[in-house]
């Protein structure tokens, strides 16, 4: 006599590995930043929101595969963080185009300031025969 066979249920996908992979992708961005700063490579960190987006996709896939409250809350929080990273890179750290008077081919406008030894530094120092680089930086924060 034949035994009745029970339908075999396929195992449910595990909830956390994909979510944790997404979390790891969020961490890779800052790690790359630290490595680039250590290597003195100063570039726009587009990789930060790009990796965060991949991370969110992994998290969303994990929640879609097997819904859960904790991971759903996590997904929403990381989605917000990802949005902030896009805003930060695409808007907050942007510099405006240079539209001032010191365009290529034009004479520098007149100015006066001080060197650190107290002597005067003026636009005429940059017209005294020696080619020069005038580099504006953000200072000692």
């Amino acid at each position: 006599m034949e035994q009745p066979t029970l339908p075999v249920e396929s195992p449910k996908p595990r909830a956390w590995p994909m979510f944790l992979l997404g979390f790891l992708l969020f961490l890779v961005g800052p790690a790359i930043s630290a490595a680039l700063i250590f290597a003195e490579k100063l570039i726009t960190p587009w990789y930060l929101p790009a990796l965060a987006t991949l991370g969110v996709l992994c998290m969303a896939f994990s929640v879609w595969q097997r819904p859960g409250i904790l991971r759903t809350i996590g997904l929403v929080l990381f989605l917000a963080l990802c949005g902030f990273e896009w805003f930060f890179v695409a808007h907050a750290i942007r510099t405006p185009e240079y539209t001032g008077p010191a365009q290529a081919g034009k004479k520098l406008p007149a100015f006066t300031a001080a060197k650190t030894d107290g002597t005067v530094f003026s636009s005429s120092d940059l017209a005294a025969g020696t080619p020069s680089i005038a580099l504006f930086f953000r200072g000692h924060w």
Binding site: E40, T44, T95, L108, A113, K115, S123, G129, R138, G139
Partner: protein, 112 residues
């Protein structure tokens, strides 16, 4: 200050080309003196009132995280008669001109 460190280490290349490097911020004189000590081959200019920054219009409003304005990072190559020959403004405050790119710009625009 990574950028200033890179320029300082490349000072021999600038000297060989006969080019002087002025670095300008709106730090006060005391902070500018500290910067000068750290980078002795660059000429550090204190521009606390932003007189130069305003004249050249490189002020970025509200960009100082402690409040107030800051210089938008900008590099000008100026020939010996005070004419601007080339300028560089990065698209974001994170980006900077690497010394090899700056030297290439000097060769192309100041020494040709």
């Amino acid at each position: 200050m990574i950028e200033l460190g890179q320029l300082e280490r490349s000072h021999a290349e600038f000297e060989r080309r006969g080019v002087k490097v002025y670095v300008i911020s709106n730090d006060d004189l005391a902070d500018s003196k500290k910067t000068q000590e750290k980078f002795p081959h660059l000429v550090v200019i204190a521009d606390p009132d932003m007189a130069i920054a305003n004249a050249l219009q490189v002020v970025q409003k509200g960009a100082n995280p402690h409040g107030g304005d800051a210089n938008a990072p900008t590099t000008f190559l100026v020939d010996g008669s005070g004419i601007v020959r080339w300028l560089f403004r990065p698209s974001t405050v994170f980006e900077r001109l690497a010394p090899d790119r700056l030297l290439a710009a000097v060769d192309e625009n100041l020494l040709k």
